[in-house]
Every structure is written in C-alpha cells, then in structure tokens.
C-alpha cells in the first residue's frame, strides 16, 4: 500500500495548483457548447465564429458538442453553468424558439436562463420539390394541394423541426393540407426528395442550393423577405401570394444568465468584430448563411416574437412532440 500512498500524495499535491482569479478576462480557454452533433449547422456556425474570436480574445475557444433531446440537453447544461464567460452556447432556432413552443417541460427557459448575446447568422428556407412533381410554382402547388387534400408528401428533418413548422405554417396560411413525413435530420429528407420518394419540402437554402443548381430539385419559392442573389428567379412566398410565411432558420449565441458587465461587453465586442470580418462573412455566404450580428437587445425582442409566433403555429396546427 506504500506505493498507493505515494501516488495519492503526488496526485493531491498536483491538485493544489488550482488556477487563481484575476481581472483580465479571458485568462483560460473558453468552452462553447453546441447542443448538436459535430458537422451540423450550429456546429459550423460555432467553429467558424470562434476561430475568428480566438484572435481577439487571445485564448483558445473549445467547441464541445453536447447533443441530445433536440438540443435541450446541452442547453439545460449551459443554463446551469457558471456565468463567468467561460461557458457559451451556439444553438439554433429550435433550441431558442421552437422547443419552448413545443415541449411542456424543458430543462431551461430561453428568456430567463440566458444572457442573449447575438443572433449570429440566418438562412431562409426554400420550398423545393422533386423535378417530376406536377406543380411548377407556388400557385400551382396551392391549387394542386386543394384538389388533392392529404395526398402530397412534405418531407421534413424531423417532427417539431423548423422545416416541419414552416410547412405547418404554410398549410395554415394557404388553407391546404399535406402529409408530413419526418426524417432523422435534413440529409435523408433531401435524399428522398431527390429520389422522388417524397414530393415537396421546406429546407434551409444552404443545404439544397447545390441540388437546385444541378437540377436535382425544383425551387418553387424562398421564405425570405427579399429575393436571394444566388437564385434571382425564385420569387419570395409573399410575391407568390402567400403572406406571413417569412421564415428564417437562425443560429444564435448566448451565455448563462448573469454575466459580469465587463465580460459581456468584451464578448459582444469580440463577437461583432468576428462576425463582421470579411473572411467570416464570405465563409458564411458561401454556405447560404447571412450574417446578422445584432445587439443583445434586438435579439431578446426578436426571440419573444419568434416564440409567440411558433406557439401559435403549434397550437393552431395541434402539433405535438411529447405526448
């Protein structure tokens, strides 16, 4: 047992070197929690943004993926973390605005548990169809849906996903119905759409832009307020006569509630600078994202709008995800 004693002595003495606190934030690596698996939109946003932020903060930023339960597992962890500026979160519209509308109990409250920092990027959804689908524009689609109620299949990246709710909103605003076919994520939904196994879908522009260019998918409309420069021929839904389906998927950055003012200021400054730097902007534009970089006040106002909007959609459409 002598060896064991010696060993524990070594271990304990090493443990005494705990870091001491000082004023200059940050003085150790910052962790960014992404409540989704690596490789997804939130992850990409986090990595592109933090790579730039490291330069101004002078400390490494570590992206930690904490997937589970539609992002609420990781978000719940962030909600309980120490508000010292060493734990941040990059998450999607789903975590901030849709989960609260959809689930009765969540391990976090997006309006109460977080210091909202900024909406980093957003991307419009696009209404796409398999090229062989009979309707060639929104008007034809609406007419077709009315003639064939509960027939046309709408693929989505999951029950309660942003594209599912966009489809529900579209049905509500046009007075039509369709069959919602959920998939495990966007990729298999797009695959089945290209293969002609499903008919139409609302997808993030970035995820399908190449398929549209290659003629594998037919672009019917875009859900943004203005036309997109990459696809100038595609009308917005509003132009096509469907009001109130202006939808973006967005990624935003937050920290646990109660950040010290100086830390918050430093973070906001570094975030804005990183998001507005030309190379980061180009990188996001290349994948169909648009940099928003708004202030924390604008973010919190926007968040309240989004939550109440999706609550209405969920209640009107009687959409449930946890029974």
């Amino acid at each position: 047992m002598k060896a064991l004693k010696l060993l524990s002595a070594v271990v304990l003495s090493a443990a005494v070197y705990a870091p001491s606190y000082a004023a200059g934030y940050p003085e150790k690596p910052v962790t960014v929690i992404v409540p989704f698996p690596a490789g997804g939109a939130s992850d990409t946003t986090a990595r592109v943004t933090t790579q730039k932020m490291q330069e101004s903060l002078g400390q490494p930023i570590v992206v930690e993926n904490k997937p589970g339960a539609n992002g609420s597992l990781g978000a719940g962890q962030v909600a309980q973390a120490k508000p010292d500026g060493y734990t941040l979160m990059v998450a999607s519209i789903g975590v901030y605005a849709i989960n609260p509308a959809l689930y009765k109990s969540l391990p976090y409250d997006p309006t109460k548990n977080f210091d909202l920092l900024t909406v980093a990027v957003r991307t419009p959804n696009v209404l796409v169809a398999n090229p062989s689908f009979p309707a060639n524009n929104v008007q034809e689609l609406v007419a077709y849906l009315k003639k064939n109620p509960e027939k046309v299949t709408f693929a989505s990246s999951g029950a309660g996903s942003s594209d599912h709710l966009t489809a529900a909103l579209f049905w509500q605003k046009t007075g039509t119905t369709g069959v919602h076919v959920p998939y495990k994520g966007g990729a298999p939904a797009i695959t089945d759409l290209i293969g002609g196994h499903a008919d139409v879908s609302f997808q993030n522009l970035g995820a399908v832009s190449n398929h549209i260019k290659a003629g594998k998918l037919k672009l019917l409309a875009i859900t943004s307020d203005k036309r997109n420069q990459s696809f100038p021929d595609a009308p917005t839904l509003k132009e096509a006569g469907v009001e109130g389906v202006e939808v973006y998927s967005w990624q935003a950055i937050a920290a646990p509630k109660g950040l010290p003012a100086d830390v918050k200021g430093k973070l906001e400054q570094s975030l804005t600078a990183a998001l507005n730097s030309p190379d980061v902007k180009t990188k996001f534009n290349d994948i169909g994202f648009e940099v928003v970089a708004n202030t924390s006040g604008q973010f919190s106002e926007f968040l309240n709008q989004e939550i109440s909007r999706w609550k209405t959609v969920v209640e009107t459409g009687k959409i449930t995800a946890d029974q």
């Binding site: 690596a38 990409t44 990595r47 993926n65 589970g68 299949t153 959920p182 990729a187 290209i194």
Partner: protein
C-alpha cells in the same frame, strides 16, 4: 480514356509529399484510435476538425478520410484480440476472430483481416473511380419501402449469426429490437422507454451496448473461470496465413468485397449491414458451417472485406450527391463546407483535383494500412500475451473513457455498467449477444422506414411487393428464412421419430 487522365491527376495530387504525409498521419491516427476500444472515428474527427482548418482542402479531406478507414481497420484489431467491437461492423469480426485468437491464431486472423481489407479497398476504389455517378443513382432508387425490405433481409440474416439455439436467437433479436426503440420516435417526435431521462432521448448509443455486453461481459466471464482456464488457450502459432489458408479465404474475400461495395453505396445504413451480410453469406455457402463461431477463418475474411469495401463506397453518395451516409460522412461534409467547398454533384466537375486526389489517396491509404499493420501483428499478438490481470483493467479504462467521449456524458458510463451486468447474465444463460446487437441497430431503422413507407403510400402495404427492388429482397429473405428453419424442423421430426422407434 477520361478516367485514366482523371486518375493521373489524382495520382499527381495524392503523391505530393504533403498529401502523402497527411494520408499517412490519418491512417496512423485512425488505426490508433480504432484500436483503442470505444473511441471511434466520429469523436476523433470531430475533435480534429479545427486542426484541419489550416490545411488545404485536399490535404484536410485526405487526412480525415484516412482516419475513417484507418479506424475501421483498427477496430477489427481490438475485436479480434480482446472481443471488443468498437464499431457495429466489427461485431461479426469478433465472433470468429476472437475465437481464432483464443486458439493462438490471432496473427492469422489479423493478417487475414489486413489482406482482405486491402483487396476490398482496392476494388472499391476502382469502382469509385469508374462508376461513381451511376452507382449514386442506384442509391436514389432506394426509398423507404426498399430500405424496409433490406432491413427485413438483414434481420433474417441475423438469425444465421447465432450458432446455438434458434429460439434464443429469435428472443435476443426481439430484445435488441425493443432496446433499439428507446429514445425519440422519428415519426411522431415522441420519446419512448426513456424513463423521462433527457439523456436517453436520443436512444442508447451502439458503442455503449457493445462495450457493455461484449467488453465488460467478457471480462467478468473471464474472471469467473480465472483459476481453471487461461484466457488464451494455446501459445501463438503461425503469424501469417499459410498457402492453404490463402486458398480458403480467396472466395470469401471476393464475395465480401462484392457485397460490401454494393451495400456501402446505400446512404440509409447499408454499410452497417455489409459485414453482417457477408458473414451470413459465408456461413450459408460454407461446407462446414458448424465451424462458424468457433474460429472459422472465412468468418473473418468475408466480413472484413465487406466492411472495408463498404467504407470506401460509402464515399460515393457523399462525393457525388453531397449526401452523408453516416455520421462520419456528415462530418466530412462539415469539413468541406468549412473549407469553402459546397458538397454536391458539382464537386466532381468543379473540384477535380479534390475528387480524384481523394480517391487515389484512399487506395494509397489502404496500401499504407497493409504495410503498416502486417509488421505490427507480431506486436499486437505479444500484447495479448500480457497477463490478463494487467490487461483487463486497462481495457476497462479505455472502454470507460471511450464511452464518455461519445457524448461527453457520464450518464453513458453508467449505462455501460448496466449493459455489462446484462452481458454477464446473457452469457450465463447462453443467450448470444450478436443477434441482439443487430436487432438493436435494425430495430429503429426498420420501424422508421416501415412507417414512412406506409405514410407515403397512404396505408397501402402492397408497395413492398409492387416495387421490384423491395420485392426481390423480400423473396430472398423468405428463401433464407426457409433454409434456416428447415433443418431445425427436420431435426425435430427426426428426434420425434427416434423417440417413437
């Protein structure tokens, strides 16, 4: 002749000093993490993603791809040596590979895996180079109905995996199917069997179940008989396969390569089935099926070739369509995006250097793996001759850290402990875990595709028979089921007659 010109371009790219170096680093790293139980390519690639930002896109992808197939390869090493399958594909390798290791033929098993993998990798790379676009179109033909039928076929095939009682094989498959349903139901978004634990909302990871049932179960089982039985039965004999062995594995390697290449193309979980399918096929065509599960070299050669072929061809939907066929491919797409490359059909035409460079580098990587691993076999074999009471705590440590790294969650470590307990119970009751694991993988996919197919067809169940690919697979499944059940039924009748007489 365009292919030749393209391959030449790829060769030029892949053979540049730095790309060779990154390829080498990738396969080395991949092998290392593959050998460490629990730590998979997904976690590693995710962690190394930031490192690749600084590299040119081609080098980054070459390295990441190297990690992926290197890890596939390394995973089989652990499966063979200590019965620890860290990837779904190496579950079947463990069945006969581990038995060979216990008989002192670990070297032979490892060499067979290396040679089979290299051959399969070569063939699959050629397929990739010549037929990528048409093969990708085949992948699109697979809709929910086809996938469901494929899963049925896989399930029937999994009965063949068992070598003991047929009843228990059925029982364990169903148990696996039920365990697989834990988590969020894709079709309704509802959580099932999660005991309201958010950590279980996404289901239980395959690695957790495999590490628990195989890894921990094996350790407890070995300790149980510590005094009466040494873990490795015989001293190590013959590191390399003999000429006779090579003759025995030639056909299985060919069949495995063909099966793996085909299944790997399917983005909806085809590659996962490759090694299982190859094992089933080998056991069915073998003239001595009773040797399977007891150290049949064909049971290593076929699945390992299929596994590696599938790993290569699973790049086809990713490179030609921008569709990820598994989490690793999703990460590769993430890496491409971060390099400013939009994955999709245009990659081949707009980024020929990347496309062909990557393909050629995969072949070179496979060559590296062979050259690297054949000499290492001696070292590995020596490693398992370390006294077991030193080896197993280390195995446990790697399992625990590996399982933690999947989701960075301690909860998963507890789950592994529970499955370790179950694994021991299964051992005591002669319930084989391999069919359970296949049921576990197939269960959720099967339900998902069945319900989706019915949803799309508006409740018309004839879609499974009216679509030719789906119907063909169901017929094969039926034939397979009959050939599995018939001998058992016949035996029963013979027993009955004997009792009467």
């Amino acid at each position: 002749m365009e292919t030749v010109a393209n391959l030449w371009l790829g060769l030029e790219t892949a053979l540049s000093f730095w790309n060779l170096a990154y390829c080498m680093i990738g396969v080395l790293l991949g092998t290392a993490i593959g050998v460490l139980p629990g730590l998979g390519p997904v976690a590693t690639i995710a962690m190394l993603l930031p490192v690749t930002f600084g590299l040119p896109p081609v080098s980054a992808l070459i390295m990441l791809a190297g990690i992926y197939y290197g890890a596939q390869y390394g995973g089989s090493t652990t499966a063979i040596l200590v019965n620890l399958p860290g990837e779904s594909s190496s579950v079947v390798t463990a069945l006969d590979g581990y038995q060979m290791a216990r008989q002192g033929k670990a070297g032979k098993a490892l060499a067979t895996a290396a040679i089979g993998s290299f051959f399969a990798g070569t063939v699959a790379t050629i397929l990739l180079a010549i037929f990528a676009p048409p093969l990708a179109d085949l992948a699109l033909k697979f809709g929910p109905a086809e996938y469901f039928s494929l899963m049925v076929l896989g399930l029937v095939a999994s009965i063949v995996l068992a070598h003991g009682s047929l009843l228990h094989a059925f029982g364990m498959i169903i148990l696996g199917l039920i365990l697989g349903l834990i988590g969020t139901d894709v079709n309704s978004g509802m959580t099932r069997f999660t005991f309201d634990l958010p950590q279980m909302a996404d289901g239980i990871g395959f690695v957790i179940v495999a590490m628990g049932v195989f890894g921990l179960g094996e350790i407890i089982g070995n300790l149980e008989n510590e005094s009466t039985r040494t873990v490795m039965l015989k001293s190590v004999t013959g590191l390399m396969p003999t000429r006779q062995d090579l003759k025995r594995i030639a056909a299985p390697v060919l069949r495995g390569t063909a099966l793996g290449s085909m299944l790997g193309i399917l983005p909806g979980g085809g590659a996962m089935l490759a090694s299982f399918a190859a094992y089933t096929l080998e056991k069915k065509v073998s003239r001595h099926p009773e040797q399977f599960g007891k150290g049949a070299i064909e049971g290593v050669a076929g699945p390992e070739s299929a596994n590696n072929a599938g790993a290569q061809t699973s790049f086809i939907p990713m490179l030609t369509l921008g569709i990820p066929s598994n989490p690793v491919m999703a990460l590769m797409i993430g890496a491409m995006i971060m390099q400013g490359i939009q994955p999709g059909p245009s990659v081949m035409t707009e980024q020929p250097v990347l496309f062909w460079g990557l393909i050629v580098s995969m072949w070179i990587g496979n060559l590296f793996l062979l050259v690297l691993n054949l000499p290492l076999i001696g070292l590995w074999v020596r490693m398992i001759s370390v006294p077991y009471h030193f080896l197993y705590p280390a195995i446990l440590v790697f399992c625990a850290i590996g399982v933690f790294s999947l989701n960075n969650a301690t909860f998963d470590v507890y789950l592994m402990a529970i499955f370790g307990f179950l694994g021991y119970v299964f051992r005591k009751l002669d319930c084989e875990p391999a069919p359970m694991l296949l049921g576990f993988i197939l269960g959720p996919m099967m339900e998902e595709h069945l319900r989706r197919a019915m949803l799309i067809s508006k409740g018309d169940a004839t879609v499974f028979l009216s679509r030719p690919i789906s119907a063909t697979m169901l017929v094969i499944a039926l034939i397979l089921l009959v050939t599995v059940l018939a001998p058992a039924v016949r035996r029963k009748r013979e027993e009955a007659f004997q009792e009467e007489g």
